[in-house]
Symmetry: C2
Subunit: 374 residues, 2 copies
């Protein structure tokens, strides 16, 4: 880790914070980043939630990884979420590995890395920690909250806990609870990590297992059609097959690259904890089987967005959210964006998606400033 880590913004939460698992933590950091400026009325703030392997560095160059922020397509000056106009906030999730309290941090009790002695956390824990951040920034009401995949789950959990926290809520490509298939896919990743003999050892990291987990996940982020169009059966070396186990096909080489590239920037235990939080998420169960009760007190406008080729969080699961919102008379719009790029579409340059995001947020902002909405 380089010196840039010193410059990461952190909020230290001092008071005792009771986790869903029953354990109490305190004096722990939540790392965050902001983009743009908070206006005088403090009514232009947008809280963005990151997905499984994201972090607080939404746009520009991530100072730690030196790579582009994960939502550079959507967030920045003049972009769909315009940082010339809006104040964008994003926090690294609890359990993460980019400065927030997570299994990579040092346990002050024994001066060792927490690893699997870190408590199991939930999406509810994750968003409750972020509420401290919003309070600390002096923001009473956010203009909008938005996120895709696990970020969308956080949108749903956040608004159900704090019904009056945001004028607009945008859950993208997500679900109100993980399906059996999604639990299975996460468990596959966890098993790959836990199968690595370097897991739980000191001074070594289970990079091979983590790479396999990432490869598995990466396949699920893309659609069958998208993969076929991009890679098909194209060979690495033009011409003939190698008759070996080297990467013959471009798709193999691409996957290996995705795996190898990931281990430099992500902690294997964070991968375990965050996937666990996703699997545990079940908003319907929190409200005794009636999902619409999760939204009954909110006056937020919702824009639920799904992608046609997303098989990880298919449209039908996003529609369950829309059904529940309608059932409690919430103000809800729903858009299914046609895209062959699978679940990853929310991170990519998909013009109709970005236009939807842009117009929904701008309209909300205009309404708020015209005091049509309080």
């Amino acid at each position: 880790m380089n010196n840039d880590v010193q410059n990461i913004k952190k909020l230290i939460i001092n008071e005792p914070f009771k986790l869903d698992c029953g354990k109490i933590i305190k004096d722990f950091p939540i790392a965050y980043e902001t983009y743009g400026n908070l206006n005088k009325k403090k009514n232009n703030a947008i809280l963005v939630f990151h997905a499984l392997t994201g972090d607080q560095f939404v746009t520009n160059i991530n100072p730690i990884t030196k790579r582009e922020g994960w939502w550079t397509t959507a967030v920045g000056p003049g972009k769909a979420i315009d940082t010339n106009k809006f104040f964008v906030i994003c926090a690294n999730v609890l359990g993460g590995c980019m400065g927030s309290f997570g299994p990579k941090e040092i346990n002050p009790e024994n001066n060792k890395i927490f690893g699997t002695s870190f408590p199991v956390i939930t999406i509810k824990d994750i968003v409750k920690a972020q509420k401290y951040l919003i309070d600390n920034l002096g923001i009473k009401k956010l203009l909008a909250i938005a996120g895709g995949s696990m970020g969308g789950m956080q949108v749903l959990q956040f608004i159900s806990l704090y019904p009056d926290i945001a004028h607009a809520a945008i859950p993208i490509a997500c679900s109100a609870s993980h399906s059996a298939q999604n639990i299975a896919l996460n468990e596959l990743g966890r098993q790959a990590i836990m199968a690595d003999p370097n897991w739980k050892k000191e001074n070594v990291t289970p990079n091979k297992g983590l790479a396999v987990a990432r490869m598995a996940a990466h396949i699920t982020y893309l659609s069958k059609k998208g993969l076929q169009e991009k890679f098909g059966r194209k060979l690495q070396d033009e011409g003939s097959l190698k008759f070996s186990f080297d990467a013959d096909f471009q798709i193999e080489s691409y996957l290996r690259y995705q795996g190898a590239n990931f281990v430099d920037r992500f902690d294997a235990n964070s991968y375990l904890y965050i996937t666990r939080a996703m699997d545990y998420f079940d908003l319907e169960k929190q409200f005794n089987g009636n999902l619409s009760l999760a939204f009954k007190d909110t006056k937020s406008k919702f824009c639920v967005i799904s992608f046609s080729s997303d098989w990880l969080y298919p449209t039908v699961e996003n529609k369950e959210i829309v059904i529940a919102l309608n059932a409690c008379g919430a103000n809800v719009g729903f858009v299914e964006i046609n895209s062959d790029r699978g679940h990853d579409s929310f991170l990519l340059n998909v013009p109709k998606f970005l236009k939807t995001l842009n117009e929904f947020i701008n309209t909300t902002y205009n309404e708020v400033n015209n005091e049509k909405r309080i």
Copy 2:
């Protein structure tokens, strides 16, 4: 390995056999099993091809694993493929681990297990070896050839090499070439095996890696809907979550079982070689981009069968075979069976599927015996 291995039927292929990779092998075994009796006319033989992790023990109790044969639902006395009436033959594929020549066998040159020094084999190599078996059994023309998944690929390859070998051909839940997604999924399994430090070591086996590969594959064999209906979010222990990385959900426990159970009966290197053969399979490419040329000389009747919820070899890919068969004027029927049980449907008790199989084979047999077909 117990004494039962001694009783495995084997054909030793003595003559030099040139593999697609260029290497020549000879004096190698092809293990096989037969069920029922060959009639005097020798016109009641059905060659069944197994899938990735199958073997020659189609029905009854597998004498080695002591488990039920992989196609007990379809093959046996009075079943869809009636062994009171038909003579069913199945060979363990080249590269397999149930007695046929594969990476688990001893290399006579150094008295060590071949492992990754075994040559890379193809679906074409696999079916060519089985042609020796049919010849050896004195069968000039098979009543039918049938197989699902990789077994279906073998059906297609076999009939394209030997257009006059069978009256009927039944490729089930397969494809004429592996899609990018399927290559990716196989590569994931291979990477899981190759990530295991026990891989390529002597006297140990990469069981953890192989178990992860099996878990990954198992997810792809079931449909999202099927998994949801069977497992949903059901917990292992009624009541509350454990807040740990133990198996909380039934689907996790099920997957772990599938992984652990598999390593006892399958060789990790066979998994590498056979998935490689599947990925290399591209019948269209063999015929310079015109799949229908693969079938132009055959007079076989075809029955192509797909399953509605199979996302590994979806109906659209099975239909490509039907289109190619129609394009060359072949006699072809196509059935998409409605089933929520995903790719695995071909192994399960899906009545409409079994009825289709049964009636197609019986009709063919009646035609052959009435000499409507020569």
